[in-house]
């Protein structure tokens, strides 16, 4: 990347402004309702965390560059410019205290999609050199090593050998012409290898032809989190190249929420062409397999279970009913949190917040919201579908001394599979 400067930052902000952004800023009536939707405000009571306030740099650029009156104000020297100092101050607001969960976007009475604009404002922060070190480090590792956590192919191969030895299952790698290419997140590889094992088990039963790809296994996209389309494009291109090399028909986004956003919604726009394959979220695929009768489960968990909707999958991805059908397939006492689905509260660790050490303390404070929501359900087990949410929740619960197991939904399904049956068709 070229030298980050204020000028480049402001230019990047200018480039980000489109008709929706202009409509949003023109419509804001400073009513403050968005604050009530944001866990960083509700859990701290600090008005600086009001969502629309986080966008002040972008708003200023919009006003002075794209409105008649703003241009006039600028000409008369009455305009408050965006300065380096301001951007430095806003780093906390745009990164530490925003997970781009888009809950505020659901609440604003005039319809402002604030998360959409936070994502855009981050482009200006990167271009002006104002992104946090932790997120920057993750992005650099993603580009140079291939994973934000520095997980290399050899590490994945080691996990595969473990899983294969433990379970007797086969994990296919680089199988040309497979129907599905499964992607993973580094966190799943390192912290939750159960996920990969669950996939292998479920796909065997359902007779799904699938593969991993040695040149494209990492689905997460630090470019999206930090707000750099350049980095995001490089990472998406890697997946597209891998999928095209193996000639797969579908690419499976792992549970990880922002990976889904990156590959499903932003991917084609980043590389500038539609994908020649279809992208499905693993929960969408599992729900399809369920509907087609290709996965059979037995026994129901009798403990009370609740489900945490990862923002990127539910509110921002439309995967809302499927996970509930899957939950009901394996549990007998499933209760939803009061506000769930498209109104779910964020765990507090999305959008790069969990890889940003500056935000650690604030994130734990914001987590109170989730803790209380979970407690209200009386659940004995929390199920979710994102390795990042899962880690953030586990850490949060530990911090607040709450003993509660947290499980991934795919694994829960895999645990209940009827295994002694022969798969409907054997792929090999």
């Amino acid at each position: 990347m070229s030298q980050a400067t204020l000028e480049r930052g402001i230019n990047a902000l200018k480039e980000q402004i489109d008709a929706p952004v202009a409509a949003f800023f023109s419509s804001c009536v400073s009513c403050g309702m968005c604050a009530e939707a944001c866990l960083f405000y509700t859990e701290t009571g600090d008005p600086k965390y009001t969502p629309i306030y986080k966008l002040e740099p972008l708003r200023r650029v919009w006003e002075s560059e794209y409105t008649l009156f703003g241009k006039l104000k600028k000409a008369l020297g009455l305009h408050k410019p965006v300065t380096d100092q301001m951007l430095a101050e806003w780093q906390e607001l745009l990164y530490d205290s925003c997970t781009m969960c888009a809950r505020c976007s659901m609440v604003c009475p005039v319809g402002n999609d604030i998360a959409y604009m936070v994502r855009k404002t981050r482009e200006g922060m990167v271009a002006s050199g104002n992104s946090p070190e932790g997120v920057k480090g993750a992005a650099t590792r993603a580009v140079t090593i291939g994973s934000p956590m520095g997980v290399k192919l050899s590490a994945l191969e080691a996990q595969i050998r473990h899983i294969e030895a433990d379970s007797g299952l086969k994990i296919p790698m680089d199988v040309e012409g497979a129907d599905y290419l499964a992607l993973l997140s580094s966190m799943e590889i390192m912290n939750f290898p159960e996920y990969l094992q669950a996939l292998a088990k479920i796909f065997k039963q359902a007779g799904v032809s699938w593969t991993l790809c040695s040149s494209a296994f990492e689905a997460t996209n630090s470019g999206i989190q930090i707000g750099s389309s350049d980095i995001a494009r490089t990472l998406v291109q890697r997946i597209v190249d891998g999928a095209e090399r193996l000639k797969v028909k579908h690419v499976i986004s792992p549970e990880c929420g922002h990976a889904y956003t990156a590959i499903r919604w932003d991917g084609p726009n980043l590389i500038g062409r539609p994908f020649p394959f279809r992208v499905v979220h693993i929960l969408e695929l599992l729900d399809e397999l369920r509907a087609a009768g290709r996965i059979k489960t037995r026994d129901l968990e009798s403990d009370r279970h609740t489900f945490h909707d990862p923002c990127s999958i539910a509110r921002k991805g439309g995967v809302i009913d499927g996970p509930r059908r899957l939950m009901n397939m394996v549990t007998s006492d499933f209760v939803d949190m009061k506000e769930h689905g498209k109104m779910a509260w964020c765990c507090g660790g999305g959008g790069g917040v969990s890889s940003n050490e500056d935000a650690d303390e604030l994130r734990i404070r914001a987590f109170k919201k989730k803790r209380d929501q979970i407690a209200e359900t009386g659940a004995e087990v929390l199920v979710t579908a994102c390795a990042n949410c899962r880690l953030v929740i586990e850490e949060g619960l530990e911090e607040y001394k709450v003993e509660l197991p947290v499980v991934g939904l795919s694994e829960l399904i895999a645990d209940h599979l009827v295994v002694d049956e022969e798969p409907p068709e054997t792929p090999e």
């Binding site: 400073s30 309702m33 009571g45 008005p47 009156f69 976007s105 009475p109 005039v110 921002k316 809302i320």
Partner: protein, 220 residues
């Protein structure tokens, strides 16, 4: 020479024409300024449509999400009071409709004056309570700019002067009526350059919000 009368005639003549011209041209320019920025073509395979969900959100956003309402009911209540009161006072007051009919050649039935009067009182209460809330609530104070106070004042004055004029509370009558018309003109002139524009752009922003969510298969 009757000075208040001359003042009234002036406000209803030249000044009114100027204000309406600025308002109409300004609003068109501003809308053009926004829409002409366009949107990048979205290449991701859609999960749902854009148009319908966008239209839907235009309506559904008038109803607050219950959880958020419980956290901040005053904002919602004052907002409703003011907007409904203003709508009734502006569009269903017989003299306003007659003015419209005289200018454009058509009109619509109004409401009986006592109802309009009550609605106006509600609008005034809504605005005053809203102002108090804006002063007291830390979030609103933090995000309010000079423009917000200006816009509040510009909105409040026509309603107040209209109310005073209707009840003949200021003498001479032509003076207060003239002030009413003048305050409306101030509002019209400022309209295109301030967030008063939300009256129109709210349809755009709600539509965009609903459309972008709809595309991803979510009702927003």
């Amino acid at each position: 020479m009757n000075e208040p009368m001359d003042f009234l005639i002036w406000t209803r003549g030249t000044a009114f024409d100027i204000a309406v011209t600025i308002f109409v041209i300004g609003v068109i320019l501003r809308l053009f300024e926004i829409i002409s920025l366009g949107r990048k073509q979205n290449l991701a395979e859609p999960k749902g449509t854009e148009f319908g969900p966008g239209m839907r959100t235009i309506f559904t956003r008038s109803i607050p999400d219950p959880g958020t309402f419980r956290r901040q009911p005053l904002t919602v209540v004052t907002g409703y009071l003011f907007h409904i009161g203003l709508f009734v006072g502006l569009f269903l007051f017989v003299p306003h409709i007659e003015l419209f009919r005289a200018t454009f050649g058509f009109g619509w039935p109004g409401l009986p004056n006592p109802i309009v009067d009550a609605a106006t009182v509600l609008a005034i209460i809504g605005l005053l309570a809203g102002l108090w809330h804006r002063l007291m609530n830390p979030v609103m104070r933090k995000i309010s700019s000079g423009e917000d106070w200006l816009v509040w004042t510009l909105t409040f004055l026509p309603i107040l002067t209209g109310y005073l004029a209707y009840h003949r509370m200021v003498n001479p009558y032509p003076l207060i009526l003239g002030l009413h018309v003048l305050s409306v003109e101030a509002l019209l002139i400022a309209f295109p350059f301030t967030k008063l524009m939300h009256t129109f752009t709210v349809f755009l922003s709600r539509w965009y919000n609903g459309a972008m969510s709809g595309r991803r298969g979510v009702e927003s």
